[in-house]
């Protein structure tokens, strides 16, 4: 068994009795009376989103228990660290910033107190209210430097303002100052709040919206690069989770090609757009594309410098979970080790893992 780092693990939302004590008034009373606020696109997420085989109790534990994750994921696959990213549905697209800030704080406090102490292999991506950057910065400051807090979560498909806009820059400044990378994850598909879920318009089904997820990331990366986010915040780091990887060459080539003729619209960029991506952006593997010929995936990996910018994610316990063995062995021992462990160790500031450890294949 080889130690690996998993960049996307979904712990459940707390149950009301676990959580109410962490939620500030007046939202505690509201929650007790009405439950969480919700916003729906009318699309039903695939059967709750979890693997069917994990519904039953195992060794006296269920998916609501941190120990279930330790046993069924971390022990089973040899995880050295697992980044807990939770669930975006309680906050993504909800319009009231004060409400969302209270929910974020309660979730963060709950997981820091009730989950992280249960296993030192757990890391947490804290939730922040993108609806109000100042409140978001306040939440980042609250947890900066906290043990096992390793990233800041962005719900990446329910924002109403593109991520390159200056609206978000105070958040980027805070993340950079505290050396906390951004963990960009789709918000639960059933709660996407945009008027148009794809550039073509409203997706009709979960299938259609899930297939089109990379389009969000293409737009967000273009927005961040071309509006100068990475030129401005030279130490900011962003991970794109669950959006696939094979779209990246097209975006890099197109940005570079267009920039040569339209540089005057982004004159603050001193390097080619693709160079900013290579330095600042990392992609996680799940759900990895499945071409008929593995060699085609290997070619794509070569195009995107997979040995530098890919990081393993399982998406446990969701239905489209990828085991670490999903990655082609033909990548070779060095590249696999970097994807399964070393790239994330560097990205998440876990230097102890960068030294030589046993091979991963």
């Amino acid at each position: 068994m080889q130690p690996l780092i998993d960049c996307d693990v979904h712990q459940p939302n707390p149950s009301p009795d676990q959580w109410l004590q962490y939620l500030a008034e007046p939202y505690r009373s509201e929650f007790a009376r009405h439950g969480l606020r919700s916003i729906s696109s009318g699309i039903r997420c695939e059967d709750g989103g979890n693997r069917w085989d994990l519904k039953e109790e195992r060794n006296g534990l269920t998916l609501n228990d941190p120990g279930f994750y330790s046993q069924q994921l971390l022990d089973a696959y040899g995880h050295r660290f697992a980044l807990l990213s939770g669930n975006n549905s309680p906050i993504a697209g909800i319009p009231d910033p004060d409400y969302v800030a209270a929910i974020c704080s309660a979730l963060n406090d709950f997981y820091v107190e009730q989950w992280l102490p249960q296993d030192e292999r757990f890391l947490l991506a804290i939730k922040i209210p993108l609806q109000d950057p100042q409140l978001a910065v306040r939440e980042i400051e609250r947890f900066a430097g906290a043990k096992q807090v390793a990233a800041v979560s962005f719900f990446a498909t329910a924002n109403r303002i593109a991520f390159g806009e200056r609206y978000y820059w105070p958040i980027y400044e805070a993340c950079q100052r505290h050396n906390l990378p951004l963990h960009m994850h789709p918000s639960t598909t059933a709660t996407i709040a945009n008027a148009a879920m794809t550039p073509a318009g409203q997706a009709a089904t979960y299938l259609e919206s899930h297939v089109c997820m990379p389009q969000f990331y293409m737009a967000q990366v273009a927005s961040m690069v071309l509006n100068g986010v990475f030129a401005k915040f030279e130490r900011l780091k962003v991970m794109l989770v669950e959006g696939g990887v094979c779209w990246l060459p097209h975006l890099l080539w197109r940005m570079d090609a267009e920039f040569k003729g339209l540089r005057h619209e982004a004159p603050y960029l001193k390097r080619m757009p693709s160079e900013y991506v290579r330095e600042h952006v990392r992609l996680t593997t799940q759900p990895i594309e499945e071409p008929a010929k593995t060699e085609h995936l290997l070619q794509m990996f070569e195009m995107i410098h997979a040995d530098e910018i890919l990081m393993y994610a399982s998406d446990f316990p969701h239905w489209d979970f990828d085991e670490p063995t999903k990655l082609p062995k033909a990548l070779g021992e060095t590249t696999l080790r970097r994807i399964l462990r070393d790239n994330a160790a560097e990205f998440l500031n876990l230097p102890a893992l960068q030294s030589a450890e046993p091979a991963l294949v």
């Binding site: 100068g228 986010v229 040569k260 003729g261 005057h264 004159p267 603050y268 001193k270 080619m272």
Partner: protein, 117 residues
């Protein structure tokens, strides 16, 4: 390379380059204010007749979030096809890439334009 007279200075007007043929090469004589420039009429990107492009001032910005401004002292030649930008004095791209345009030495003597091509 040798100096050769190619046209009268007054024949080169802003926005209206003079294209001359030297051997098998076309050279564009381009005016930017008081200055004249001689450019190989071939864009390294896609082979476009780059001398037919536009001469514009350089657009710059100190950093993201700061307002863009123009440096009128630095002339930029933009290709007519894909609008790539090149420094009209050095021939270098305004983007950090290797392709550049060929600039020829130029002088004006007694109202006549000479280039070393």
């Amino acid at each position: 390379m040798s100096w050769q007279s190619v046209c009268a200075e007054e024949a080169v007007r802003e926005g209206a380059p003079v294209i001359v043929t030297i051997g098998r090469r076309e050279v564009g004589i381009i005016r930017h204010g008081e200055k004249l420039h001689a450019v190989l009429n071939f864009c390294p990107h896609a082979g476009a007749p780059i001398a037919r492009g536009r001469v514009e001032a350089l657009v710059i910005a100190d950093e993201p979030g700061s307002r863009a401004r123009v440096d009128c002292e630095q002339a930029v030649l933009r290709c007519p096809w894909h609008h790539w930008e090149f420094d009209l004095t050095t021939g270098e791209s305004l983007c950090p890439i290797k392709p550049r345009i060929k600039i020829f030495p130029l002088k004006v003597e007694e109202g006549q334009v000479w280039i070393d091509a």
